[in-house]
Amino acid sequence: MIAVIHTVPTLVFVTSALLILIGAIGVISVKNPVHAALCLIMTLIGVAVAFVAQSADFLAAVQIIVYAGAIVVLFLFVIMFLGVDRREHIHFEPLVGQRAFAGVGVAITIGGLIALMARSHWVSGASSVTTKLSAGNGNVRQLGTAVFTTYLFAFEVTAALLIIAVVGAVLLARRERPVASEEAA
């Protein structure tokens, strides 16, 4: 058994792959939205493992904190808000041919994509000289330097984007007040 497992990286890859795929299939096939959210978390953790294996440590941490910790929680809030017992009737598909065409379309797209990548030797391009990865501990420093110098403008814009998003969310979710109470005030 141990002879089959060649190296630790392979093992890590297999683990992350399993987590990702099972979680993904779970998201698309379970009826209960809460269960789907849990499957999503599984996928996100799988992705975080893959990040660590690829020496993107900071991103792995951010993935867990932001994605799994904030975004999925937000999902769960909304699910609760709109009612847990709303289940979807999965077996019944009202639109004719949707599943078939969707399957075919996605299969062709992904298959073609993989074929193209295979044809062009997966990763082509020269290794970068100026912004190369440093191994091990310097990942946060390096990423920070890149974001705050090379990609500073993008950083500022995303900050503005976040503020806009928050304002938008508040406005969208506001409950309408009755008109009479405004006149009385």
């Binding site: 890590v12 890859f13 992350s16 792959a17 990702i20 795929l21 993904a24 998201v27 698309i28 939205p33 789907a36 959210a37 999503l40 996928t43 996100l44 294996a53 690829q54 993107a56 991103l59 993935q63 932001v66 904030a70 975004i71 937000l74 999902f75 909304v78 709303r86 979807e88 949707q98 599943r99 969707a102 379309g105 996605v106 299969a107 797209t109 992904i110 990548m117 997966w122 990763v123 391009g125 290794s127 970068s128 912004t131 190369k132 990865l133 990942n139 390096q142 990423l143 890149a146 090379t150 993008a154 995303t158 806009i164 998003a165 928050v166 938008g168 969310a169 406005l171 969208l172 979710a173």
Partner: protein, 101 residues
């Protein structure tokens, strides 16, 4: 000594495809959003793989920004879902067919 990039790329492609299929097939708005998150994660995985293979930090910087944007998008998107489906009894997107004709 690392796992070849090809495996991670194929994995990311597969994740993307599953997410796309789920987006097209499920009727509930919330599940559709989760499928979008799956697709974004697939993209992130691809970027990080390339970043490692090409020895370039830019890939990770891009993933950083993708995550920010994804968060903002989920915020606004769920706000829309709430405001649209507050009064209805189901979250099926098939009911929103005002563009018919």
């Amino acid at each position: 000594m690392n796992v070849p990039a090809a495996w991670y790329l194929i994995l990311a492609a597969g994740l993307f495809g599953i997410g796309a299929f789920g987006l097209l097939t499920r009727r509930s708005a919330l599940i559709m959003f989760m499928c979008i998150e799956l697709m974004l994660n697939a993209v992130n995985l691809t970027f990080v793989t390339f970043s490692r293979t090409l020895n370039d930090i830019s890939g990770q910087a891009i993933v950083f920004f993708v995550m920010v944007v994804a968060a903002a998008e989920v915020t606004v998107g769920l706000g829309i879902v709430v405001s649209v489906f507050r009064r209805r009894s189901s979250t099926s997107v098939d009911e929103l067919s005002e563009l018919k004709g």
